[in-house]
Amino acid sequence: MDRDLYLFAANAAVWAGLCGYLVFLALRQKALEARCRRLEALGGDA
């Protein structure tokens, strides 16, 4: 494989990894907000 391809692959791997962690954080945030809304609704009924 050409050296340019290794450089491209390393860049792609790093940014894909960082984006993957950002997606994980976004999904966690979404789940927490959904749980917050559920608890708020239950608190309103009580």
Partner: protein
């Protein structure tokens, strides 16, 4: 978290990319592949900073018992494992064309891999949560303190032992050209801001999760 922090981090990363591709000169011996260095170095350094944060936060949790330190240690460990994984991957992709191998059992690489396994076991321990939340936090804090023993070994491995891994800063090699040094420092600073933004965000998420967990345990609120 200050709202400006993520914007500064993204601006820094964009500037870093510009400097890597259009400003930093191509190294004579290795050629264009050396540009991996500008990502590999910040990833490695900030992973070590993450594990130092785990150590300090774990020690503080054991001393003071405040959950905020436990959450900080957990957030830092997650981030450290992500960064260390990417440093290992980028290092392997750099090693293949230069050393003609994906991996070699060099002291620097071996201690880094051992560190990665130790902190992965920390995360595994957190996910299993032995003996309830409080006990899991204490056990993890002890591991967070003990695990740090490997981190100075990783940092000094290339300096103290015979290693094929280059030591750019403080080593016997000739150092960097001014343009290369400027690019490396901008990338380290940009990744530092990004690291801090992610650390604060994740710690805040863990605090919110803990609050929700406490709320849902109240007798008048039963989640369905």
């Amino acid at each position: 978290m200050p709202l400006i922090l993520p914007f500064l981090a993204v601006a820094g990363l964009v500037l870093g990319q510009y400097l890597i591709w259009f400003y930093a000169p191509v190294e004579q011996t290795m050629g264009v592949i050396q540009k991996i260095f500008y990502l590999h170095l910040p990833l490695a350094w900030w992973s070590l900073a993450s594990f130092f944060t785990v150590f300090v936060a774990s020690a503080l949790y054991l001393l003071k018992g405040k959950p905020v330190y436990d959450r900080l240690a957990r957030a830092a460990c997650e981030l450290g494992v992500v960064l260390a994984s990417l440093a290992l991957i980028s290092g392997m992709l750099w090693a293949r064309p230069i050393w003609n191998t994906w991996w070699t059992w060099d002291p620097k690489l071996t201690t880094t891999l051992v560190m990665w396994f130790i902190y992965m076991s920390y995360l595994l321990l957190r996910s299993v949560g032995p003996g309830g939340a409080g006990n899991a936090a204490r056990v993890s804090a002890v591991l967070g303190v003990v695990a740090f023993l490997d981190v100075p070994l990783v940092f000094f491995a290339a300096r103290k032992w015979r290693s094929i891994h280059p030591t750019v800063f403080g080593g016997a090699s000739g150092g960097l050209e001014p343009e290369m040094l400027a690019t490396a420092l901008v990338c380290v600073a940009a990744f530092g801001l990004f690291w801090l933004a992610l650390l604060l965000l994740r710690a805040r998420q863990l605090a919110l999760a803990a609050r929700l967990e406490a709320l849902s345990r109240q007798p008048q609120i039963k989640e369905f």
